[in-house]
């Protein structure tokens, strides 16, 4: 919330900036929105869409691999599918899915009316969308990137990748990187500064805590990949030689820069899911989270240690035994705080009044699946054994168990758990259970056999194999299971949309939950909290239900409820940067036009009027 300083002084020719959009309904209201709840919903739907796109790409890959010597998607096409599947899933589906929950839930959980910078929040969303458009536009403009999602040099050089695919990939990732960095800083400030009075850091809900840690990871990891991408872009287009061995450059530098970002990225994906699980398990066990402080601190420890393990992706590069041993040790060490979390979840379940509603099913499934992924992670965390597993399907199995089993299952749990808060509608319980079992079983049938393929030597990223290898039967089975998984996930999302459209209204607190977001109506009013709460205990809402005393609140502002104003500028700045990106790829004048639009909108952003307004308080007040 910005201040009520004196009104901005604007010369006459700029006075049109004083009017800010005020539409409450229709397309314009969504394009100009600064409401964190609406932005959360936008993130949710957009990431569902990209999950669908990435899923289709995965199924194409699986189709090609379903039998030996197939020639459906061959060579570069296959490589593009593999690359874009990973890129889409990581940057456009899973990370924004976490952002959807961050956006919607953090202000509600910490008792705030909005995030610290509502317009920047909208900017983050539109930048993410712009990045998604640039990345996927490459399909229609000469082919997508086909160098793998980690894009090792020198394969990415202009010599070996002469099309614009890699350029699209670079610019797309820079745009989503800007989006995530800005969002991360926004959330850090929100969490530090916008908490309800009395909510010290150690009384904050665990999901908000994990979002806090994740935001720091984003803020410190993304600059590294941004620099790496800029250097790569210069190598490709401006003739520098950072990764060219012939000129003294070192391709391994790319690997270091990429993984200094890439490994924290793994925790960026999985920590929000851990946060969601830490919310769900206590609610459905009717017990406070066992070892709240340990869960929080181990989350923070994972965040710190996440920056010390990057070279375990590079054991086979030839860094020497000392470096390999050091990174083996740090990799093994990071299992400790992860294990602490898992034991705390199990001990929360212990002796609880467990109710297996659908969110709880996904949450407990996550605990199990992430353990499978974690153990195989420890196996190739040991450098000596990694030499056998590197670049085989064993690794593919491992990271799908962590990213899907650890990340996606958490977000599916969160979707079912928070859907009542998002849309005020409940999902069908019976159907939800059935869908869960289809997803859970087909997930394991898809990815568990990959361990066997990996140990029998099938390498990643090959588009076909001969029948002599005896991989055909397992691959056929995996492809079959993957189609079932794809359909099951599709049915899940159709079920979500069905629930949103249904008349199955949710109460304010359908799960008998513990945190502040359930103390307000579903869906929350635009101002979230009519009376801002005061917090005294960890699960303030739960405590107030037990003691039957309402949550204490702050005195009301005589002017009404203070609200941030809508704005066009976030959208226009993002469009400007998107146009500039296309211009940069084709080295056309479009980049100057794009930057011009960006600059104008930027100044418009800075100078547009204070459009904060006041809403009247509801008459009845909060229950």
């Amino acid at each position: 919330m910005s201040g009520h300083g004196p009104k901005l002084a604007l010369p006459k020719f700029l006075s049109f900036l004083k009017n800010r959009p005020t539409k409450e309904n229709g397309l314009v209201s969504w394009l100009t929105t600064v409401d964190h709840k609406r932005i959360g919903i936008l993130y949710l739907y957009t990431s569902f869409f990209f999950l669908f796109v990435g899923g289709i790409e995965a199924l194409f890959v699986r189709t090609q691999l379903s039998a030996n010597d197939l020639e459906i998607f061959v060579g570069s096409t296959y490589n593009q599918l593999v690359t874009m599947h990973a890129t889409t899933m990581i940057f456009l589906a899973i990370m924004p899915l976490a952002a959807a929950f961050f956006n919607f839930m953090i202000p509600l959980q910490i008792g705030a009316r909005d995030v610290a910078f509502p317009r920047l929040n909208a900017f983050s969303y539109f930048m993410y969308l712009a990045g998604g458009i640039v990345l996927n536009a490459s399909w229609f403009m000469g082919g997508a990137s086909d160098v793998g999602w980690f894009a090792y040099a020198p394969l990415t050089s202009a010599t070996y990748s002469p099309t614009h695919g890699v350029d699209f990939w670079i610019l797309g990732l820079i745009l989503t990187g800007i989006s995530s960095t800005v969002a991360a800083i926004n959330f850090i400030v929100t969490i530090i500064n916008m908490r309800a009075p009395g909510m010290t850091l150690m009384k904050m809900p665990v999901f908000s805590w994990m979002a806090f840690v994740t935001a720091f990871l984003l803020a410190f990891a993304l600059p590294v990949i941004t620099i790496a991408l800029i250097i790569l872009f210069m190598d490709r287009n401006y003739g520098t030689t950072f990764f060219q061995t012939a000129a003294g450059g070192d391709p391994i530098l790319w690997q270091h820069l990429f993984w200094v970002f890439g490994h924290p990225e793994v925790y960026i994906i999985v920590l929000p899911a851990f946060g969601i699980v830490s919310e769900i398990i206590p609610v459905f066990s009717k017990k406070p989270l066992f070892g709240y402080k340990l869960v929080v601190l181990s989350g923070a420890a994972i965040g710190f240690m996440g920056f010390t393990v990057w070279s375990h992706h590079m054991f086979t590069v030839g860094m020497g035994p000392i470096v390999n041993s050091a990174f083996s040790i740090t990799t093994a060490a990071i299992a400790i705080p992860t294990g602490v979390k898992i034991f705390n979840w199990i001990l929360t379940l212990w002796n609880g009044k467990i109710k297996f509603s659908v969110p709880m099913m996904y949450a407990t499934a996550l605990v199990f699946l992430f353990m499978v992924g974690g153990f195989s992670g420890l196996m190739h965390g040991a450098a000596a054994s990694d030499f056998q597993q590197h670049d085989t399907y064993f690794v593919v199995a491992h990271f799908h168990y962590t990213i899907l089993g650890g990340g996606l299952f958490g977000f599916l749990a969160g979707t079912v758990y928070w859907l009542p808060k998002f849309f005020g509608k409940m999902m069908d319980e019976e159907r939800g259970r059935k869908i869960f079992w289809w997803i859970f079983v087909s997930f394991n049938l898809t990815f568990f056999p990959m361990h066997f393929l990996g140990t029998s030597g099938m390498p990643r990223r090959i588009y076909t194999y001969s029948s002599d290898m005896e991989w055909t039967a397992l691959n056929g089975f995996i492809t079959l299971a993957s189609f079932v998984l794809g359909i099951a996930l599709l049915v899940f999302f159709i079920d979500v949309i069905k629930a949103v459209k249904s008349k199955n209204k949710a109460s304010a607190d359908p799960w008998d939950a513990r945190t502040l977001e359930w103390s307000i109506p579903s869906p929350p009013p635009v101002y979230n909290f009519a009376d801002l709460p005061k917090v005294e205990k960890v699960d303030e809402f739960w405590e107030s239900k037990i003691s039957k005393k309402p949550i204490k609140t702050l005195p009301r502002d005589p002017h009404g409820i203070h609200m941030p104003g809508k704005s066009w500028m976030p959208l226009i700045t993002s469009v400007g940067l998107m146009i500039a990106s296309f211009g940069a790829i084709y080295e056309s004048d479009l980049r100057y036009i794009g930057l011009g639009i960006f600059l104008l909108a930027y100044y418009g952003w800075a100078l547009e009027g204070d459009a904060e307004y006041y809403l009247p308080y509801p008459k009845k007040g909060r229950k």
């Binding site: 919330m1 910005s2 201040g3 009520h4 300083g5 004196p6 901005l8 002084a9 604007l10 010369p11 610290a116 910078f117 960095t181 991360a184 800083i185 850090i188 400030v189 530090i192 500064n193 916008m194 908490r195 009075p197 009395g198 010290t200 803020a219 410190f220 990891a221 993304l222 600059p223 590294v224 941004t226 620099i227 790496a228 800029i230 250097i231 210069m234 401006y238 003739g239 520098t240 030689t241 950072f242 061995t245 000129a247 003294g248 450059g249 070192d250 391994i252 530098l253 270091h256 820069l257 070279s311 590069v317 030839g318 860094m319 020497g320 470096v323 702050l554 005195p555 502002d557 005589p558």
Partner: protein, 250 residues
């Protein structure tokens, strides 16, 4: 192929890790803990309640710090990693260029020292800029703000001159690894200075529209925060690029 020397990577990131830690600790000590509600005295709490009932006052944040200030602290911490990566690249490729010109062929230590001095001097002027607006002295604010702006502009002028001189000597972006890493690192810093210069000029013009007042001194403070950061980064860059080339002990 010879494996990459990991030491410079770790060194550079550690240096910046330590730097980030120092900055954050400094911030925490100075601002964060003193304003956690638990530490607030009763009197302060009462004063806060008074503020709540006064709608013309800033909306109270949890720490008592304005959001925008916190935003810039976190952003600058994140920016440290940008420079950290660039310095890493520079250090790794130090002495790896296959063809000349090499650093000592082109460097003019005296020139860069003078421009460094001017940039550091601007930090001093920035302090005076902030202090004059905090006292509400608009005239002095304009004077010092413009002085800071001029110093920044002079620094940029020196940099443009230096780049042109280097290009004349045959060092281009794509000549060798030294050229690539040097131009990228100092160029990124130069872009930061240019943004700062535009910011200062903007504030200077804005003060004639009545946009800069004592009550809005926080906005000047943030510009100062950014400006000092850019200066501190230059100290690191100057040491890493220029001073490390000097033969130790004459």
């Amino acid at each position: 192929m010879e494996a990459l020397k990991l030491q410079p990577v770790i060194t550079a990131f550690s240096v910046f890790g330590i730097f980030v830690c120092i900055v954050l600790t400094y911030y925490a000590l100075l601002n964060l803990f003193k304003s956690f509600p638990r530490v607030r005295s009763k009197k302060e709490k009462e004063a806060m309640m008074d503020k709540d009932s006064d709608p013309h006052h800033h909306v109270e944040t949890y720490t008592g710090e304005p959001n925008i200030k916190l935003f810039w602290w976190v952003f600058l911490a994140s920016d440290c990693m940008f420079f950290g990566s660039l310095i890493t690249a520079y250090l790794i490729y130090k002495g790896q260029s296959l063809v000349g010109p090499y650093p000592l062929d082109v460097f003019d230590m005296e020139l860069t020292t003078i421009s460094t001095f001017i940039l550091l001097l601007s930090s001093f002027f920035m302090v005076l800029t902030l202090s004059s607006i905090q006292k509400g002295d608009l005239g002095k604010f304009r004077f010092w703000c413009f002085s800071t702006f001029l110093c920044g502009l002079t620094f940029l002028g020196f940099q443009v001159y230096e780049f042109e001189h280097f290009i004349h000597e045959g060092l281009r972006l794509k000549t060798n690894l030294f050229g690539s890493t040097f131009y990228l690192l100092t160029g990124t810093h130069g872009v930061h200075v240019a943004i700062g210069v535009l910011w200062l000029l903007g504030m200077f013009i804005y003060s004639f529209w009545g946009g800069i007042t004592k009550e809005r001194a926080i906005e000047v403070e943030i510009a100062g925060l950014y400006w000092h950061f850019v200066d501190v980064v230059w100290i690191v860059i100057f040491s890493v690029i220029y001073l490390m080339e000097l033969p130790i002990g004459g």
